[in-house]
Symmetry: C2
Subunit: 273 residues, 2 copies
């Protein structure tokens, strides 16, 4: 009997070419498909909630897969960890409805971006922090971060995933040429503990490179290249050229994909500010 | 004019065969000698304060070297970091007296041992934490840790560095066959923050594998294999077989080598307990 299993996965993205299957470089999806197929002796295809970029980490990525196996839902994580490499761990598992689709079902995703703001980057932090050595203006960054919660058009804070040829082809076929770039952000908070800076952002969904461009813009604010109070205007103009740099992948971590949304969307924006 | 420079070094020991030069495997000492010699265009030989094992990390290892270079003492760290790999960083540098020897000069060294006590080890912690999945008795471990401060003979908590042949040869040559295994510990503290357990130990010096055997013994106490109140007896019997396991290298980090000892030795044992 076919069952659908949800896996909560943590990984160190350092040695992977991102989540999604691709011809060049090993991906998280590929390793999970290979090891689950080997374990369950059937061809397994995981469906991920989020296609993280090369080098991005996760503490709470989510995927589902279908299987004929009789292993209890909460035991898959133990079984699969026996054969996964140490830099990918199934942290939990459970059975879900057969029609549960991790990208179509509403969820709140939380990402963390880590910056280390000191002269030198300690070796133990080198894989998980973006190193910025000039002193950052934390207060200005916090003010800027405060503009993101709410429903906004994030076109200025995203990179188009399509190349020109694909876009033109889609236009010719009569599809609308613009994808919807409106997203809702529930939380956008920056805090610092000595040289370690942590930025947390939660939202209903994120555009391609969105968190890395927001983090890069906050760094530009901290370095005085962008005024903290210009964020509303940057959002409004919808022009990628006005937002800041794209911060490097290694500082980014997908912390959580939360599907208990019915209650959560009632949360007031940025409640703990 | 010859000058002696002190470097404070942090490194991720994962990819190194320890500090000290050896025929098999790349060591921290070897990389520092190579890159300093290349930078200063003279043959540089660093002298380390501590010979850490393969896989052990450091946030505050210390070494000195002699040079004819005119670079200001505090600027060497900037210069050398240009050519060091990212997993070795010079965090600070300064000029010291020509007779300053980092192993002969009195110092207080501090080590940290990290344990992750949960079902699964998150990938981002895999290089720096020893994973113990069965629930540990933290209180018993803290009680046991409380017996180490003070002056004790730590023979039971050390591994002999010599092999039998070397020991016999030394005996025949008329040298005393026992090395002095008495050491003074100033601090021995275990704390936990959720599943992350941190053990900090400071002392005038440490025997071979001493911190790893103490940490392993504390784990055996936490798992009920060794009674917390048997530590005084284990110390007294001076028998390695009575102490616990040697905890793996990756959980260990040399945090600091402090040479401002004149004042520090006045500190009461374990003042913050």
């Amino acid at each position: 009997m076919k069952r659908r299993i949800l896996l909560r996965v943590a990984f160190d993205g350092t040695n992977y070419a991102g989540w999604q299957l691709q011809p060049n470089g090993l991906t998280i999806e590929e390793v999970l498909n290979r090891e689950l197929s080997r374990l369950l002796k059937e061809e397994i295809r995981v469906i991920g909630a989020s296609r993280t970029d090369a080098g991005v980490h996760a503490e709470g990525a989510v995927c589902v897969f279908d299987t004929e196996s009789g292993i209890p839902g909460d035991k898959f994580c133990y079984a699969i960890n026996q054969s996964l490499p140490e830099d990918i761990r199934a942290m939990a598992s459970n059975e879900v409805a057969l029609d549960f689709h991790p990208r179509k079902r509403a969820s709140i995703k939380t990402y963390r971006y880590q910056i280390y703001n000191d002269t030198f980057l300690p070796p133990s932090k080198r894989l998980y922090y973006h190193h910025v050595h000039g002193k950052l203006d934390i207060e200005a960054m916090q003010q800027a971060a405060g503009f993101f919660p709410g429903e906004h058009d994030f076109k200025a804070f995203s990179k188009e995933r399509e190349d020109r040829a694909a876009r033109e082809k889609r236009a010719l076929s009569g599809e609308t040429t613009e994808i919807n770039t409106v997203r809702t952000i529930y939380r956008s908070q920056l805090s610092s503990d000595g040289p370690a800076i942590e930025y947390l952002i939660s939202g209903s969904g994120f555009l391609y490179n969105m968190v890395r461009i927001i983090a890069g813009t906050l760094i530009d604010v901290g370095q005085g290249r962008i005024a903290w109070d210009s964020i509303p205007e940057i959002l409004e103009r919808r022009d990628r050229g006005r937002a800041g740099q794209t911060a490097p992948a290694k500082g980014l971590c997908l912390m959580n994909c939360d599907y208990n949304v019915a209650i959560k969307t009632e949360i007031k924006y940025n409640q703990d500010r």
